[in-house]
């Protein structure tokens, strides 16, 4: 049974169609969402989180229609890590992570335990008492990921969590996501770095022009014709660009 399912979903932003007839079933494991800029990755993730209405079709969470679920019921099932998520106040790291589970209605002791476990799992226990404003970009992103993980929901949606990070931090974040997925969660992660996606994801979904044009094992998707058409580049099975095979123009231009 899929944990998250798109059924012929259409999304338009200000009358501009962004997702066309998207059908996708997400099962436990780390699924990478790839595609060029403007292909609809963030829109798909936001629609899955219930942040954007669908013009047609439906999203199902554990086979329940997303629109029929209350905000609280959605929060119990889905965690969302936005791209460049803002933190408006100079919060302590442990306070910020705790925000991810306060809606569960647990006691302070239980929340403290959940926060401590998550900080350990994300290797940021040493920052617990620091202000989030004093952290580096990579440390901050791990803290925000910890906030998304602390509620232990079956679905995690991460929108480009490795953007603007150095390679070491990118591997740290993707490694964390892979660990979480290995524990039985369904993780959908938008990612631009194709070698990173090839290395860590169990499955890749390719979006191009708002449509899913390929879906499968990373090496099949990356080396496939659809990826070549989407990026206008020939890509190896490990996600590297084959410079000899650069086409003159993008196939869909």
């Amino acid at each position: 049974m899929s944990v998250l399912r798109f059924d012929h979903a259409y999304v338009a932003l200000r009358d501009h169609p962004v997702l066309h007839d998207v059908s996708l079933a997400l099962t436990p494991g780390l699924t990478g969402l790839i595609g060029p800029n403007g292909s609809g990755k963030s829109t798909l993730i936001r629609a899955a989180a219930g942040l954007l209405p669908l013009q047609k079709g439906a999203v199902f969470i554990q086979e329940n229609d997303l629109t029929a679920l209350t905000l609280r019921a959605r929060a119990d099932t889905i965690s969302y890590l936005p791209q460049n998520g803002p933190v408006h106040w100079p919060l302590r790291v442990d306070e910020l992570v705790a925000l991810g589970c306060t809606h569960l209605g647990k006691s302070k002791t239980e929340i403290d335990e959940m926060v401590a476990e998550t900080l350990d799992a994300c290797a940021i226990a040493g920052f617990a008492a620091r202000s989030v404003n004093t952290l580096s970009g990579g440390e901050r992103q791990r803290v925000l990921l910890a906030r998304a993980l602390v509620a232990n929901t079956p679905v995690l949606l991460a929108d480009e969590p490795t953007a603007a990070l150095d390679p070491w931090q990118q591997h740290q974040i993707m490694g964390l996501l892979a660990n979480v997925a290995a524990k039985g969660k369904a993780v959908l992660c938008a990612v631009h770095d194709l070698p990173l996606a090839a290395r860590y994801c169990r499955r890749l979904v390719l979006l191009d022009g708002g449509k899913i044009t390929d879906d499968g094992a990373p090496k099949t998707v990356l080396a496939g014709k659809a990826a070549c058409n989407a990026y206008g580049l020939r890509i190896s099975a490990k996600g590297h660009v084959d410079e000899k095979g650069l086409p003159e123009a993008r196939a869909h231009d």
């Binding site: 989180a49 905000l71 919060l91 306060t102 202000s131 404003n133 004093t134």
Partner: protein
């Protein structure tokens, strides 16, 4: 945090007693105690029970309402510069009260002025509640508030401009400067229940305000409705600020400064600042009212709004200067 809460409670009690002793006729603690139980000079009892007690309680509760509103608005708007003035509720309440003065209703009916002030604040709140929906970015609520504030200020200026005589104009001008002098238990009975309801609404919005600190999208995925949070904050501010303006006139700076005063001791989480800001706001306004009485004399009546601005602005500048590191 417990120590800071204890300090605020002790400060409030100390200022309460200081406020009961201070005035044109100074009372010793023994005289105050005797007056409180009607065992001393009957004049002292009259001063304590009919003048200073309602004035002191009003100053505290109005300050508490302003402090709580300021903390909640800063959290909701995610802006440390926000205060009840920014969303136009203060200015709209003032407009309602000024209209009651201008049309002479306040002179004929006791309840006309407070009800008109609450009506003005309520109209502004209605517009803001319509704006504060889940699909409206918070910047639109700020812009709507700024527009409402500008409209209310200009209409107030228009009424002052059209004042039929200098006495009417001076009555409006003095009222706008804010004061809790010569207020009685009827004012207290009107304002305090509303302020307590307002503080409760604001306090209930606390968890949502905490989540909104991570952005509206993340807050929604944590089960928070930004629209509902906005409506709670607007209604709470309406009760606190509308009731405060209705009985005391316009009083600035308390709503802005109180959250900044307590943030270094209670952390930056907006929801956690609401009750401490209420206590700090109450203390600030009590202190300002004591200063008003110390500096006022025969022929020189100082107004509370003037003193809060005069003391508040440099104090706020000092806080910002010394708290620069809080923001990193």
């Amino acid at each position: 945090m417990r120590r800071a809460t204890g300090f605020l409670i002790i400060a409030a009690l100390t200022l309460f007693i200081a406020s009961m002793l201070t005035g044109a006729l100074w009372l010793s603690p023994a005289q105050f105690w005797a007056a409180l139980w009607h065992t001393g000079d009957p004049v002292h009892s009259m001063i304590i029970w009919h003048i200073r007690l309602p004035r002191t309680l009003l100053a505290f509760f109005i300050g508490a309402g302003l402090g709580a509103s300021g903390a909640a608005l800063q959290g909701y708007l995610r802006n440390p510069l926000a205060d009840p003035g920014i969303v136009g509720i203060s200015a709209s309440a003032s407009l309602g009260a000024v209209a009651a003065l201008y049309f002479g209703l306040a002179a004929h009916y006791f309840w006309a002025l407070p009800l008109a002030a609450m009506g003005g604040a309520g109209l502004a709140a209605l517009v803001l509640i319509r704006l504060a929906r889940d699909d409206t970015p918070v910047t639109h609520v700020i812009l709507g508030g700024v527009a409402l504030s500008s409209l209310a200020v200009s209409l107030t200026a228009l009424l002052m401009n059209l004042s039929p005589n200098p006495w009417a104009l001076s009555e409006i001008a003095y009222w706008l400067m804010g004061s809790v002098a010569d207020r009685g238990f009827s004012d207290l009975g009107f304002a305090v229940p509303l302020i307590l309801v307002g503080i409760t609404l604001l306090w209930r919005s606390g968890p949502a305000l905490d989540a909104l600190g991570l952005g509206e999208d993340t807050a929604r995925t944590l089960g928070v409705s930004p629209g509902k949070a906005g409506r709670l904050v607007v209604l709470g501010t309406l009760c606190c600020v509308g009731a405060g303006v209705a009985v005391s006139g316009a009083i600035g700076f308390v709503g802005l400064a109180a959250p900044h005063l307590v943030r270094p001791f209670f952390g930056a989480m907006p929801g956690r600042l609401i009750l401490p800001s209420a206590l700090a706001g109450g203390c600030l306004l009590l202190l300002a009212d004591i200063v008003v009485r110390l500096l006022s004399g025969p022929g020189t009546m100082l107004y509370l709004g003037v003193v809060t601005a005069l003391l508040g602005a440099p104090f706020f500048l000092y806080l910002i200067w010394t708290q620069r590191r809080v923001w990193v």
